[in-house]
């Protein structure tokens, strides 16, 4: 995604702005400081290696990566359709794809339950014919996470596809490359930074998902209790464990932010 940056001359901040900006910073920083200052640093190793924590860590990692994978496999073709397809009605399609971005996650969970629960629209057939039950299963977690994460990937990749210079693909085509070769050797490399950024965003979103997971997949330790759910449960039993797990998620979020810095992702060709 290319942006034009205009260099404005830097000036002194007007006092009212400075005050309000300071309040804004405090509003955002104090809770994070609270988390860091109240972390039981001495007990961290013990808290993070407890069975509940290890289970939650393992589940979170497995499900978020799988959800990012699902988002990638399904999302990239969808992004291509939205950006390049001659089909009419892509505007409606785009609105549909963007919906999970704005929809409250718990509502997404309820919707998933009504569609894929044991008596759901599709779920009842999955259960009656194949014995497959998605709520309260790890697969259910992956579905809930993919549902909220996929739009991030689709939007990112679609943007890249739209702004990619079409002349490279045209040049490859005139040189005799098949559509698939053009896709593989020209298009995908061109949008590679957006692919990486979209996948990382989707993965981070999947990792942090709470509302849809707890509503659709439930909160069963070892099966569906991912890190955010474990934090929620630990709040009522062992606050220090909740803080320790929260710290893990905070560190991961910071890492994702660093990873997605523009400097590393500016792609395309100069």
């Amino acid at each position: 995604m290319s942006t034009v940056k205009i260099d404005h001359p830097r000036r002194a901040t007007p006092v009212p702005f400075a005050v309000l900006a300071a309040v804004a910073v405090a509003f955002l920083a104090i809770p994070l400081a609270g988390l860091l200052l109240r972390t039981p640093w001495g007990r961290l190793p013990e808290l993070l290696t407890s069975p509940v924590a290890v289970e939650a860590l393992r589940l979170s990692l497995l499900c978020s990566v799988a959800a990012a994978g699902v988002a990638f496999i399904l999302g990239v073709p969808l992004a291509w359709v939205l950006a390049r397809s001659r089909m009419r009605g892509t505007a409606v399609l785009r609105a549909l794809v963007t919906l999970p971005l704005v929809l409250p996650p718990v509502v997404g969970g309820v919707a998933l339950l009504l569609a894929f629960g044991r008596r759901g629209l599709v779920g009842q057939y999955l259960y009656d014919w194949f014995g497959i039950q998605l709520p309260f299963s790890t697969a259910g977690v992956i579905m809930a996470e993919a549902f909220v994460a996929m739009p991030f990937l689709v939007i990112t990749v679609e943007g890249a596809l739209r702004s990619a210079d079409p002349r490279f693909e045209e040049a490859a085509a005139t040189l005799g490359a098949s559509r698939w070769t053009v896709m593989r050797r020209v298009t995908l490399p061109l949008i590679a930074p957006a692919l990486v950024a979209g996948t990382v965003l989707a993965w981070a979103r999947a990792l942090g998902e709470f509302g849809a997971t707890i509503t659709f997949a439930g909160n069963l330790p070892g099966v569906t209790q991912t890190l955010p759910l474990a934090v929620y449960s630990a709040l009522d039993t062992d606050r220090e464990a909740a803080i320790a797990l929260s710290l893990v998620l905070l560190v991961v979020s910071l890492a994702v932010l660093l990873l997605l810095r523009d400097r590393y992702l500016r792609g395309g060709v100069r």
Binding site: Y127, I132, L235, D236
Partner: protein, 269 residues
């Protein structure tokens, strides 16, 4: 195209890694099921010393840890436990969660399940009554039920047995108390009191006992109090019904009853 190359390589590795993990995730039996499609999963489970999943009311958290340990030691059956509000667990069972034994804090939750034939082999195993929990130092100066009207009070949500009991208690004693919050289970109420976020909470006697010196308890006179009967049952669709029945029986053995008594539960009616 020098800058694009590393990105492409990274994307390839990412995709490969992701696909591997998805396959690994699916292979490790991610999908739960009780119908014909999960026959293989059940076979694998039974071959590997079938784990029993026990879902219990949150007020049983500490005492069941002991009972489960004794059960596993005595029978060699590994047990996995999950604690939450009884009504939450009942909903999970209704939705087909992989639970084998359910211990609820009140018949209000268990009876409908029995009527829907989702549980069998129902047994009473303990009783409990309410107590007012206050933060150490009793900042609200709560000495009895009457003092509840002037302070911030936290209770369980109504659909949870401790919430039903709390509501009954307040009604029986003509107390006009507006709770500051309806928490999802007894332990959540207890935590609010432990962390001094409210002046008083209505929890069970056993919860106050379990919290040792982190909260203080204000007793409720027997005539004014409300009690509840704990019931345990086998979940109908369980793939390990024998082990589940074993556990249900175990809860009423002298060893388990002794553990319950020392946690200040009352005997079954």
């Amino acid at each position: 195209m020098g800058k694009a190359q590393p990105g492409m390589l990274a994307a390839r590795w990412l995709l490969a890694g992701v696909l591997t993990l998805i396959t690994a995730g699916c292979a490790s039996g991610g999908v739960a099921g009780r119908g014909s499609g999960s026959a293989e999963l059940e076979a694998v489970e039974s071959a590997a010393a079938a784990t029993l999943t026990v879902a219990a009311a949150s007020s049983l958290t500490d005492v069941f840890a002991t009972i489960v340990e004794e059960f596993s030691a005595a029978t060699g059956v590994p047990v996995r436990t999950t604690y939450a509000g009884s009504s939450t667990l009942a909903e999970q069972i209704r939705a087909g969660a992989p639970i084998d034994v359910f211990a609820a804090a009140g018949p209000t939750v268990m009876t409908p399940l029995a009527q829907e034939q989702l549980v069998t082999d129902l047994r009473d195993f303990a009783t409990n009554s309410l107590m007012i929990a206050v933060p150490t130092g009793n900042p609200g100066s709560v000495r009895g039920l009457a003092d509840l009207t002037g302070v911030s009070v936290v209770v369980c949500a109504e659909q949870v047995p401790c919430g039903t009991s709390a509501r009954q208690l307040l009604a029986n004693n003509d107390l006009d108390v507006q709770p500051a919050s309806y928490e999802r289970d007894a332990r959540a109420v207890l935590m609010k009191i432990r962390t001094d976020e409210a002046d008083a909470g209505l929890v069970y006697v056993t919860d106050v006992a379990a919290a040792a010196d982190e909260v203080e308890g204000v007793e409720i006179p027997v005539e004014a109090n409300v009690s509840t009967t704990y019931q345990v049952a086998v979940v109908a669709d369980s793939p390990v019904p024998d082990e589940a029945a074993q556990f249900v029986e175990f809860v009423n053995t002298p060893a388990a009853q002794a553990a319950l008594a020392s946690a200040r539960f009352g005997p079954p009616p």
